[in-house]
Each structure stands twice: as C-alpha cells, then as structure tokens.
C-alpha cells in the first residue's frame, strides 16, 4: 500500500468563497497514487487539542507536478486552524486513504451530483472521468459529455463550476435561496432528468426517448448515463440512493462519518451495511455503491 504520512509544504491557501478555502500541497507520493474520492487525514494542529486528524477529500492531484489540492469549509476548530495556515507552513498529512470512485474507461455520459463542500472530491472525479473517457485520441471532445447537478446554499458559495465545464461537464446549479441557477435541490434535477432520459421503468421507455429538452441532448441524446456519482450532505445521498434504486444505473456515493484512525483500525467510522452489520467509512469507503448502505 502506498500510504504517505508526514509533513508536506503548503503551496497556497486561498479563500475561494466565503468560508471555503482551497489549499495546495506539495506531496509527490500522494499525488502519484491518489484517485478521486480518496481523502487525507490532516493534523490541523501539532498540539493535543484538537486531537484527532481531520478527514478532507482530495480535490485534485497532479502526478507531474507532485501537487495535491484540498477544498474545505471552515466549520469548527480544526478547519479554523487550517484556514490560518500560510504558504510558508508545513502540514502533517496522511493519505491517500480509502476507496475512491471507480473510474472506468470510456464513459461518455457520467452524471455527478454534488452538494456544497461535497463538490470538492467531484472536481477530481470529473477530471479523471474526462481523462478516461476515450481510449483513443480522436472524437473525444464531441463524444464525452458529463452532467453535473450541483447545489449550494446560495450563489456566493458556488465554486468549481468553470473547472467542471472545462472537464466537459454540462453544469446545472441549484441554490437553496434561488440566488443562482435553479431554486431547489440538485436531486430534483437528477430525478427530473432521469425520468425523461431513462428507459426505466420499462413502461416509461417512450418518455425516455423523447427527452429532447435535456441539456446534453444537442450533443448526443441517445447516450444514457453509465454511472451516477454523488457526494454531499446525508439527505442528498439518501435521495440519490432512493432515485438509484429505481434505475439500474450504477450509483456511487461518498459518505462522511466521524473518524479516528482513518485506516480501518479503530472501527470508529461505522456505516450501516445493507448486508447486516457495519462497514468502515474510512477503509471500505468512503465511496460505496448506493445499494451497499442503509442510510
């Protein structure tokens, strides 16, 4: 297992939206092996309180430059300390950890659903999906068209949209207060979209075919989503799981749980398995197939 644990250099730490920061870290070891959906365990403070490391997803990793990126929201003591770090500081990180999102080759219409800070790991995912979308070099641009349904509390919290578009995702933004994009939840859009495009339930096949009003249809209305990926607050994941249960599309969700070790040793991060008992969010996940879990 290529797991890194040690002190790395902070390259930058910038507030990209109110209370939301992006931090660049120099860590060739982690950059080399990281895959989307994996996370770091970050020691925010070298002292003994706050004590535990904080799990933060990897939002970008670049093998060539050896850089990784995280995007985090300041919610408490640990992230508060993180936000005050500057580029001359070092940071103690451990990672990459966990099982990330599967990124099969050749997907043409993956759908990502993100809520708030949950969008962070989806940026890394979007890039990987795009990069893996075609085995050959021709026809790629026109062929790949991901869909991204993302939600934020309000317009000022939106981040990463340009990046998603650069990765050839059609982006639909929702906000709770309607201050940008649709007023509502990204899961509403997902549901609506799937209802139109999907041949399931079988009796609805015709509806699916006539879904000419969906965003991507101009490019390739015949392509059905091959996978749905979601990360966000629990209610979002619940809804995605519920929607998934009505389709046959493989659906992957990334869950959060309070963690101690982050490596599977303490059994602290239990999530309820549909097979009975518990799975470990840190090692068996944080990404699971939606049907694996009871949310």
């Amino acid at each position: 297992m290529s797991l890194f644990c040690g002190s790395v250099k902070i390259i930058d730490n910038v507030e990209i939206a109110p209370g939301i920061f992006r931090m660049g870290l120099e860590c060739p070891e982690a950059a080399e092996s990281a895959s989307p959906g994996q996370f770091l365990q970050i020691r925010c403070f070298e002292g003994l309180a706050p004590l535990l490391r904080r799990p933060i997803s990897i939002a970008a990793a670049d093998k060539d430059s050896g850089m990784i990126e995280i995007i985090y929201r300041v919610v408490g003591e640990g992230t508060g300390i993180l936000a005050r770090k500057t580029k001359k500081d070092m940071l103690d990180i451990m990672g990459p950890l966990g099982k990330g999102f599967p990124v099969p080759r050749g997907l043409r219409r993956p759908v990502i659903v993100g809520g708030g800070i949950g969008v962070a790991p989806l940026l890394f995912l979007a890039k990987s999906l795009k990069e893996n979308s075609s085995r050959d070099s021709y026809g790629r641009e026109s062929d790949f068209c991901g869909l991204a349904f993302v939600g934020f509390s309000s317009g000022e919290e939106v981040f990463g949209m340009q990046f998603l578009e650069d990765c050839c995702f059609n982006v639909e933004i929702c906000t709770d207060d309607g201050s940008e994009g649709h007023k509502g939840f990204p899961t509403d859009l997902l549901e609506e979209y799937l209802k139109h495009i999907m041949p399931i339930p079988a009796s609805n096949r015709e509806n699916a075919k006539s879904a000419g009003d969906s965003e991507c249809t101009s490019a390739s209305s015949a392509i059905l989503p091959e996978a749905v990926y979601a990360c966000g607050p629990e209610p979002l994941l619940k809804k995605v799981k519920q929607i998934a249960s009505m389709t046959k599309i493989p659906t992957y969700i990334s869950v959060e749980q309070r963690m101690a070790c982050g490596v599977g040793a303490c059994l602290g991060c239990a999530v309820k398995s549909s097979g009975g008992g518990y799975l470990r969010a840190c090692r068996d996940g944080p990404v699971f197939e939606a049907h694996q879990l009871i949310l």
């Binding site: 297992m1 290529s2 797991l3 644990c5 020691r43 003994l48 309180a49 706050p50 004590l51 535990l52 490391r53 103690d92 451990m94 749980q257 309070r258 963690m259 101690a260 070790c261 982050g262 490596v263 599977g264 040793a265 303490c266 059994l267 602290g268 991060c269 239990a270 999530v271 309820k272 009975g276 008992g277 518990y278 090692r283």
Partner: protein, 330 residues
Amino acid sequence: MDDRFFEREYNPYESDASLMESKSRHADFADISVNICGIAMKNPVMAASGTFGFGEEYAGLYDISRLGAVVTKGLTLERRCGNPPPRIYETPAGILNSIGLENPGVEGFIRWEWPRLCRSGIPVIANIDGDNANDYYRMARRLSELDGLAAIEANISCPNVEKGGMAFGQHPESAYEAIKAVREGTNLPVIAKLSPNVTDIRQIAEAAVNAGADAISLINTLQGMAIDIHKKKPVFHRTFAGLSGPAVKPVALRMVWEVFEAVRVPIIGMGGIASWQDAVEFMLAGASAVAVGTANFIDPFAPLKIISGLKKYLIGQGIRALNEIIGSAH
C-alpha cells in the same frame, strides 16, 4: 550551590533533549528488551487493544514487527456487529469511543486473522471479553490451542457493552471470578486489563493477581459521555462511552503507581501515552511495558518514536537496561 548552575539553569527547565545526550562515552547501547511473564519482547512498546485492528491496518506505513507486541481488538465468543454510529467523539485532548466490541468472534479471529498474524514475527496478545465467567473460560481454552499466541489479555473493563465488560472490573469479587476463569482455561500468560472506574484500583489488582493473573494492564477507558446540544440527546446510543487519549494520562499514571505498590506482577501501562517522555513517566511509576492506543490515530509513528526515544533516553542517562528505571520514582 552548584558551581556550574548557569550552564544548566539559564534554560530554567532542563530541556528534554538534554536527557538524551550521552553522558558517558561507553553508554552507546541500551537494552530495551523486556520479558513480561514469559512474553519476550524486543522493546516494551505495544499497540493497545482496539486501536490497532488486527495489526494489518498500519502495515502500509511501517513494519509492525518493530513493535514489542500487538494486542488484538477485543474478542468475544461470538462475532459482534458493535454499536450503531456515532462511535467516536472528540473531547479536549481525548476521545470518547463506543465501538461496542465489533469483532469477528474467537472462531472468526482464528480463521481470518490468526494465520497472517502468527507469521508476522511479533508477539500477539489476544484480548478477550466475556459476558460471563464461562465465556472467559471457553475463549481462553480455545485460544490456547493456537500455536504461538503470546498471551491472553482478559479485558474486564469494556464500558461499551450490555453485559460483562466493565462490571467485572469494578468489584474485586467479580474481577477474581473472571480472571480465575481465564486462568483455568489456559496455560498461557494471563494479563488482567483493569478498569479505572473504581474507588480503589489496588483492590482490583490484588484480586486479579490472587486469581492467577501473571500481569496487570491498565488503564482501559474512563467512563464519560457527551450530549448533543442540537438534538438535546446523548451523542452515543448507549449514553456512556469510554474516554481515552492524553486527557486521561494523569489518572492512568496514578493508577500504575498505586498498583505497583500493591502487587508484585509486571504492569503494562497505558492511557494517553503519546511521547517517549510519557512512556518514561509510566516506567518510572512502575510499568514494565507500555501500550500506545489513541496516539496511533494522531501520529501513526508514535510507537516507533517512543521506542527510539526510550533508547536514546537510556543511553543519555547512562543506563544499560530498561528495568533499572522501572518503578524507580517510588
């Protein structure tokens, strides 16, 4: 008055680094191996039960055979799913946990974990927890069949289960009963793991020794709780949970000190140990070995740093063997 006082005293509190500077040209070697009731360990630093899985999880970071010993997650007779989440809650310099002994059961352990563990080249101590004395007896007997198991640690102190657990460790009579059962089930060394949630830890330690314990390990977690002020309900399903980590160190150290004065068997000290200085404190208080629990989560290399720190400390002090300092603060 010491004529050379300035050399030392301008930096009013002698720095810990200075403790590690070699005082004599000859003391460039220190023996930190220990033998605790027949468990031969190349160093006195163990991984505490429940914080190190079955030894596999941290193997991606370093060769775990560098540790003195590994204690398994607590085993029960039958496999258990454990408690519903949340199971972990951070507190100032500590954590509360309510894992609830999720484990594959003794048979599951033997089948799935032991084959790998027994080849790891490191003493493995099986930690067991029973609902009743008979459980303890049966587990001890079954585990004794394993070829190469180093010892059995009888956890009579788990605060996170319905039956047994901590209740055994809170009264001399029941502690005696549980340890006696283990003793009858095995010829392996028996370590009694005590609960700190008692009025007089010495009485419990004495009862355990009278029942045949070859060593005492302490402390398990202090019983604590947290309340979610948003939901106005306890954070944990089972209301109470176990407090561990640096926050509890002063209490753990005190109990090691007390037990050292009460019984003659070796003590495995734990509770908040995060640095070699902490480990030295425990040894001066009377621990022959130490276990690192919560600190693994904060710094996975903590056990290795403790091992090398201990070695340098002894060399710096001109002490050739670890047991010269055990209990020497009394």
